[in-house]
């Protein structure tokens, strides 16, 4: 069977990247937050939207604004789990030439500047083309702490999980409100780093209400696992985040589309747009504090 040419065969990254991954970084982050009765604020960036340089600056601005962990979207042509905002961001990024190599270089670059845990998110096909083992190694070398592969459920993910464990990279699997207790248990066991609780049925995209089912899902996950649980999909406002933190035992909140929307809508130079998104990030972070 023909296989695409090995684009990572001659990568220079092995030499260029320092600061090897430390899976404890994620654990320490959650431990420290618990000590402070705080929840993690996890902003999301799409690599290469509009270009890698801006993504890097935006990411570091989020860290400056108080991000506890950053989720880094590596764009794929067919992002099945994502709504219109991230689809548009992915299309812009791909159109401007974003690649996996570029994303990993950017992550390695950011890693030199901050200790905040970095969690790349992508879809299974680009990873499959590189090979699970090789991708896990590349993520480790770049300094990523855990990886989310949105369309790879643990039922199909044994090979990836093993490769990730071997290279000391965490695997974040997703759980939806429809997951029954059996599945909650399976997914919780397979997850390292944190469990991603899909806060509402559907795809990503900013909404304004407190997701009605998230509390129940987090409670059910808690019955099977001590692994931290972070919720995402549809978080957009400080009020909504504050209420979710108050009414559930969630360990962190992921915000993606609302930040991208803000960055998209703001006019002006890249630094002005970054400043606007970072300001929103700061407000969202404040909502995760007691």
């Amino acid at each position: 069977m023909p296989r695409p040419a090995g684009i990572f065969d001659n990568t220079q990254m092995g030499e260029a990247c320092l600061a090897p991954t430390d899976m404890n970084k994620l654990k320490n982050t959650f431990d420290n937050l618990r000590d402070r009765h705080e929840r993690a604020f996890i902003p999301f960036v799409t690599c290469g939207d509009p270009d890698m340089r801006v993504t890097k600056d935006l990411l570091l601005a989020y860290v400056e604004a108080g991000a506890d962990i950053v989720e880094i979207g590596i764009p794929f042509t067919d992002p099945l789990a994502d709504g219109p905002t991230i689809q548009r961001a992915s299309e812009r990024a791909l159109a401007s030439g974003a690649t996996m190599e570029g994303a990993l270089e950017m992550i390695a670059d950011v890693r030199k500047k901050t200790d905040v845990p970095l969690v790349p998110m992508t879809y299974v096909n680009p990873v499959y083309q590189i090979g699970y083992e090789k991708f896990a190694n590349l993520c480790h070398k770049a300094g990523a702490d855990a990886v989310i592969i949105s369309d790879l459920p643990p039922e199909e993910g044994a090979e990836w999980s093993a490769a990730a464990a071997k290279h000391n990279v965490g695997t974040v699997y997703l759980l939806a409100p429809t997951s029954n207790d059996n599945r909650v248990e399976t997914v919780a066991k397979a997850t390292t780093g944190f469990i991603y609780a899909v806060a509402r049925m559907g795809v990503t995209g900013a909404k304004s209400d407190v997701p009605p089912e998230i509390g129940d899902l987090i409670t059910r996950i808690g019955q099977h696992s001590d692994t931290p649980v972070c919720a995402g999909f549809g978080f957009s406002s400080p009020k909504q985040i504050r209420e979710t933190c108050k009414s559930t035992s969630v360990d962190g909140i992921v915000v993606a589309s609302a930040l991208i929307d803000c960055f998209e809508k703001t006019s002006g130079s890249a630094s002005e747009r970054i400043a606007a998104a970072a300001k929103l990030a700061g407000e969202l972070k404040a909502a995760t504090r007691p």
Partner: protein, 371 residues
Amino acid sequence: MVALSELDAEYEKARRDPAFQEELQTLLRDYVGRPTPLYFAERLTEHFGGAKIYLKREDLLHTGAHKINNAVGQALLARRMGKPRLIAETGAGQHGVATATVAARFGFECDVYMGEEDMRRQELNVFRMRLLGTRVVGVGSGSKTLKDAMNEAMRDWVTNVRDTHYIVGTVAGPHPFPTMVRDFHAVIGQESKHQIQEHIGKLPDALVACIGGGSNAMGLFHEFVDDKDVRLIGVEGAGHGLKTPDHAAPLNRGSKGVLHGSLSYVMQDERGQILPTHSISAGLDYPGVGPEHSYLKDIGRAEYVAVTDKQALEALRLLCKLEGILPALESSHALAHLSTLAPELGKDGVIIVNLSGRGDKDVHTVQEAIG
């Protein structure tokens, strides 16, 4: 994942339930119009001067294509599961029309996702779906064709999975869809096997069917997979030619990848990004293919060739002129391969071509293309 395992379990139960099978058979006979004839195309046979050509007339089915076999089966399944709403993706509109039809027949609410480019080139089918009470949702992302419609249908499904059943229209997508859709279409091959025995007292030498996702081909092939002397030939859309990037032939030019929940041949770049496709036929304009076709290719059981837009158009005109049958552009791809295969097999040979759909929906496209 939970929805998929529930569907899998329910389908396994339904499959073994005599009442389900009886209702399905009755509907296939009285509503859908099965069995379809296996027609000896005498003048087409004479024209090529080679093997005897038989056409499996799925174009004569209610709604005009094989897609209804699967739509009826899955609608019965959705009703068993107590889901009041159906969704579907469609390329040429045939699966959309089939789904809209069963939605009307059984009283489901129904939304069909269709790429904006396909809505333009299959306008007639868009109107038919609306007449049947279905909402047609245009998809303007990506290439605005079948792949993007499937993305959007999946997004709808994960959002509304509690009250919605997604009738995947081809033998692709996550398990159990590839096997389930194949099973609902396997009647095509079962009837053909019986009918060809009645015509000539033996099995054919070759089966030919077009491949987009591959449902009509899988339906015809499945019954014959163990009959090693019967060649199974799938015909992909070569668009402007396999040497150009403008085609839809993953089995001929793709590589292994994961799209829409299954591992199969996919048209992609070296970084695993899915490539745009082109085929004059909206139903074949898809960068992936059902995983069982990839399997049949890898084990050497089936052969996969491709014909260009131009060849398909010629075949369409030929069938009109010689047999008085207007085939769908999709099916015309299968017919176009006859000019190679019929002479190759010679006068002793026998070929069954799956005439998977009728071409009324394509007259605009054909008019545009041939002027």
